[in-house]
């Protein structure tokens, strides 16, 4: 029935020609055959069934295992993990492996830095998102440890957001969450002067973008009218003054240097009492000069939340008001689930995730033609958001919900002619290139050759890039250059990219660092394997790199390669080189 699925399960079956698989696949990529495991499946498969869209079959065990291990932990499954997963006959083994990849909440005290790839991977994700880079200097590990802790003990996502937005600190070097605010400071001139209003603007832009998925950059400089009519309907009606009222929530927040020219900051709300660096008005002033934007003009800048106009309540500070309004708005949960959906599924229900058009979200109030509803699955988005909120904004819950769904577990192999209109249905799994850090960690892991490095400003050492801050490798040098070539972000204005390039392909073929990883050397996987018989070498290398056993044909070719080599060691290196150059190594499918 599912020819492609079964033919890859056992190693002894000969390869089924693709034409045959095609014929079977046409039968098997059917409508509604796949079990609906949770609310995600209900929406995804119902819509496909309704619109007569064929979909791929479920991914087989090895495809699924590699994908979910990379997505949840940033690492490849080990050969042992692949073998034991394949042998497992439990019908719930997929759910079980997902549960095992996500660490439970600690119960006996809270220990630091146990080897928890899940925590490393998502700490790295948030460090990229909140741009934890050299601008935080010695605050880098502090911020990183804070994020790690939040994930380790399972702080709800809304608490996480509120904690950072409202955090105060006498130094962001010692108080992690304050770096979320101080990172957005705008300095001007040759001296060390903060431009207060520009800083408020930046905090507002980044908070709104990250937590609401709404990008206010455009309207921070000009009204939407006359600019955005073809880009974003909701934003086209917004005025600069609306943006200033959003930025004004941070008007009383002062960020000041602790010492002269050092990147260490106090974060405080001005008010009676302690505020050693109160150089400016305690509010958002339109009269000040901007060093980044077009001059401001007279307007009412009483803080008003841009989504609904709501104001600060008596008894709360303005930042507390912002944090409350932000996290209680339904858009907070919607933007969050959409962002993580994009991470796992390859594209957001609203895509790109920071491009929400708030006038195009509600199918019962559709926008005027030619505008369409923006989310591909508006009801799913709302249901996911409600479910996330109902479960106390628990990230572990959300990740499990997504990865346990069969929608996530569809194969990338569609097996019949793909039509572009299927793009919006999630009819197959979208292949994604390994991110720059994932790529290098995968090379290290599969070759068994690791570089140990210092995690700057700490006494700790790391083996995986995901355990580090990206600058722990230096700003320049062969490895940093390689990572940048593969799209690493500098955590300034450009996000990490997974675009491909000719130079990347050349690096995989012939980069000196990659080649030196492959060599059979002391401590490497190859060194250990070469004491074993050929068949074991072949199987282990396959499992270590592309996370599945070889097919019969692949095994034949590989054994042939090993036996024909001048030296056995060279043959094994050649096989490892070829495995690292396969598309199913560099891509997560």
């Amino acid at each position: 029935m599912r020819g492609a699925y079964w033919s890859r399960q056992t190693r002894r079956v000969t390869i089924v020609p693709f034409r045959f698989i095609l014929a079977l696949a046409i039968c098997s990529t059917c409508f509604g055959e796949i079990a609906r495991k949770n609310l995600i499946d209900n929406f995804i498969f119902t819509k496909m069934q309704r619109d007569g869209i064929p979909h791929a079959p479920l991914a087989n065990d090895t495809e699924f295992l590699r994908r979910v291990t990379l997505d949840l932990t940033g690492r490849l499954p080990t050969p042992e993990q692949v073998r034991s997963f394949l042998k497992d006959t439990d019908p719930n083994k997929r759910d079980k492996i997902i549960d095992s990849l996500i660490p439970a909440l600690p119960t006996e005290g809270v220990s630091r830095r146990r080897e928890q790839p899940f925590l490393d991977r998502w700490t790295y994700f948030f460090s990229d998102l909140f741009r934890n880079n050299a601008q935080n200097e010695q605050g880098i590990p502090t911020f990183r440890n804070y994020i790690y802790k939040v994930l380790e003990v399972g702080i709800p996502y809304d608490d996480f957001a509120r904690d950072m937005i409202t955090s105060n600190a006498i130094s962001n070097w010692t108080t992690g969450p304050a770096s979320f605010i101080s990172r957005n400071r705008v300095m001007e001139g040759d001296g060390y002067k903060m431009n207060h209003e520009d800083t408020c603007d930046e905090i507002a832009v980044w908070s709104t973008k990250i937590f609401l998925g709404v990008n206010l950059e455009c309207v921070s400089c000009h009204d939407g009218a006359g600019h955005l009519e073809k880009i974003n309907l909701w934003l086209s009606k917004k005025k600069r003054a609306d943006f200033w009222r959003q930025a004004s929530f941070f008007g009383k927040t002062s960020i000041g240097p602790v010492f002269g020219r050092q990147q260490e900051f106090i974060v405080r709300d001005l008010g009676a009492g302690y505020s050693p660096r109160a150089d400016y008005d305690s509010g958002y002033s339109l009269k000040t000069q901007s060093s980044l934007r077009v001059p401001r003009y007279k307007a009412d800048v009483t803080p008003a939340f841009i989504l609904n106009g709501e104001k600060v309540n008596p008894g709360e500070s303005e930042r507390q008001g912002f944090a409350r309004l932000l996290t209680s708005n339904p858009q907070f949960a919607r933007a969050a689930v959409n962002m993580f959906w994009a991470e796992f599924m390859g594209r957001g229900i609203v895509d790109p995730p920071f491009g929400f058009d708030m006038d195009r979200q509600d199918p019962s109030h559709p926008p005027p033609a030619p505008w369409t509803i923006q989310p591909t699955h508006p009801e799913l988005l709302n249901a996911l958001a409600e479910d996330f909120a109902k479960h106390n904004y628990d990230l572990r819950y959300l990740f499990k919900l997504i990865t346990k769904s069969n929608a996530y577990q569809l194969s990338w192999e569609f097996g019949q002619k793909w039509d572009e209109k299927y793009d919006d249905y999630y009819a197959r799994h979208i292949v994604r290139r390994l991110g720059p850090e994932q790529f290098w960690d995968a090379v290290q892991q599969s070759t068994g050759v690791f570089q140990e490095f210092n995690i700057n400003y700490t006494a700790l050492k790391g083996k995986y890039i995901m355990q580090a801050h990206y600058l722990d490798f230096g700003e320049t040098g062969r490895l940093p250059d390689l990572l940048v070539c593969f799209g690493q972000t500098d955590r300034e204005d450009n996000a990490s990219s997974d675009r491909s390039s000719l130079l990347q392909a050349a690096h995989l073929l012939n980069n000196s660092l990659v080649l030196s990883q492959i060599k059979a050397q002391k401590g490497s996987r190859l060194e250990r394997l070469l004491t074993k018989p050929d068949k074991e070498v072949v199987e282990d290398l396959f499992l270590a790199t592309i996370s599945r056993p070889p097919t019969a044909e692949e095994e034949r070719m590989s054994l042939d390669l090993l036996s024909k080599a001048n030296k056995r060691e060279e043959g094994a290196e050649d096989l490892l080189w070829a495995l690292l150059n396969r598309v199913d190594f560099i891509f997560n499918r």
Binding site: D128, E413, K417, A505, A578, N581, F587
Partner: protein, 480 residues
């Protein structure tokens, strides 16, 4: 956070079968919404060059101390200022070898810039447009437009990508500067950084060749993922496969060693530094005549806010040793001088494949920075700051006529342009330089393409700048 779908990946376009692959591995196939081209006025691009080398003097060199020499109160006494035989006042201490090739250069002193901040001004340099946050992700760099336009001129013997950049960081905050934007991945730059040494993955040591061949032979049969039915193959796989083919073609080219393997003697002649190495590689790429059309050579360090004249007088040149000066404009000029002058000389001495001309005649070379520096007294840290009103440049080859002359002049301080010396009678802006580059390659700079993700037409060169209609056009005075 990987915002992969933020980027203008061509996910709405239909990729057809892999037909004629361009050497960079992309397949500039017809796009589903074809890029409708339109032109606005009647111009005749001159098509006098096959390749362009753009020496990007990043940071903004001081016009008063380089191509537009002024002897001010602040000018050091040891610049050895003399009048060249072409009649230019020239700092022989800083740029002696360039003085020796002035007969091949047209020095332009009436250039201006729109921006005085690096990122925005460099954006003009490399993309030829003003930065717009709304459009940055889809705007192609100048080199990518060239790659797109000249794709039909690619020969089967070509093994170099059309757009090459050296020594400018490709990622991070400079990501928008070196980008094919909404154009096909075949227009993407090959961005190499040699500042950590010549560790490029394109060279196969002789003793490794046969092993590499065996490995590739094996991979071709082994990697079934690359041969998935194109009816439903993910575009990412097709793209990766074509990039691999392009990389392989480069690696296997018998000429590739000649491009990236530099001899000790020539490295020393070019200055023994990353800029000199990049100039050498550019020369070799042009000599190979293997598909490179736009080579962007980036020399960073001209941003002399402090100690522009160094911190003291440095060592004199020692024969046989790379010259070192006290830093500031001395160091940068020495680096520029050796690389640039030798590049021009070598191009002039090499004949093109058909023997009818020199490589210099077929290559348009230009050198300039993104803005000039403040005239008059030095600032508080003995340096000069940004000055958008005046910048200067050197142009050679590719149709440039009556070299050994100057276009334009500035006042005695170097603060204001007093003579424009071209038909537009205004400063030569980045748009004009861009139009000139397109023109020498035979590209109609008034062309525009539709079908961008934002819906806004992409004009190769905007006739307006902000709210001023400036009528951007090629600087034809270079060629008459």
């Amino acid at each position: 956070m990987r915002l992969r779908s933020d980027l203008p990946i061509l996910n709405r376009r239909k990729f057809f079968q892999l037909g004629a692959l361009s050497v960079t591995g992309g397949w500039l196939a017809p796009l589903e919404q074809p890029l409708r081209a339109a032109t606005s006025e009647k111009v005749s691009p001159r098509g006098s060059a096959e390749c362009v080398i753009f020496v990007n003097m990043v940071g903004g060199p001081s016009q008063m101390d380089t191509f537009d020499l002024k002897e001010l109160k602040t000018t050091p006494a040891n610049l050895d200022v003399r009048t060249t035989k072409q009649g230019l006042k020239w700092p022989y201490k800083l740029l002696p070898e360039t003085a020796g090739i002035l007969d091949d250069l047209v020095i332009v002193r009436s250039m201006g810039a729109w921006e005085a901040t690096h990122n925005l001004a460099q954006y003009w340099q490399q993309v030829g447009h003003g930065f717009s946050a709304a459009r940055a992700k889809e705007m192609p760099s100048i080199g990518s437009v060239i790659a797109y336009e000249l794709r039909n001129k690619a020969k089967s013997s070509d093994f170099l990508p059309p757009f090459v950049s050296m020594n400018f960081p490709a990622g991070g905050q400079n990501g928008f500067l070196l980008n094919e934007g909404f154009l096909d991945s075949a227009a993407a730059p090959l961005a190499m950084d040699l500042r950590n040494g010549l560790d490029v993955p394109f060279v196969l040591p002789d003793e490794y060749q046969s092993r590499y061949d065996r490995r590739m032979e094996f991979l071709k049969a082994f990697d079934t993922g690359r041969k998935v039915d194109t009816d439903w193959a993910p575009k990412r796989f097709l793209e990766w496969e074509s990039f691999t083919r392009g990389a392989h073609k480069m690696l296997k080219s018998p000429e590739i060693g000649k491009i990236f393997q530099l001899t000790g003697e020539e490295r020393e002649r070019y200055g023994s530094n990353a800029f000199g190495d990049a100039c050498l590689i550019a020369r070799n790429m042009v000599r190979a005549q293997a598909g490179a059309r736009y080579i962007l050579l980036n020399q960073g360090g001209w941003d002399h806010h402090g100690f522009i004249y160094g911190r003291g007088q440095g060592e004199e040149a020692v024969p046989g040793k790379p010259r070192r000066g006290p830093g500031g404009v001395y160091g940068l000029s020495a680096q520029f001088d050796q690389g640039f002058a030798n590049l021009i000389r070598d191009l002039k001495e090499t004949k093109s494949r058909d023997g009818n001309s020199t490589l210099l005649e077929k290559t348009f070379v230009l050198a300039n920075g993104e803005f000039g520096r403040t005239p008059g007294p030095l600032n508080g840290i003995q340096g000069r700051d940004h000055w958008a009103a005046v910048r200067c440049g050197a142009f050679a080859g590719g149709g440039v006529k009556h070299a050994g002359r100057v276009i334009g002049a500035t006042d005695e301080q170097g603060a204001k342009i007093t003579r424009f010396d071209w038909h537009k009678n205004r400063p030569i802006y980045p748009e004009d330089v861009t139009a000139t580059i397109y023109s020498v390659l035979g590209i109609d700079w008034t062309k525009s393409l539709s079908g961008t993700p934002s819906g806004r037409d992409f004009l190769y060169v905007e006739p307006m700048s902000g709210t001023n209609f400036i009528g951007s056009t090629e600087v034809r005075e270079l060629f008459i």
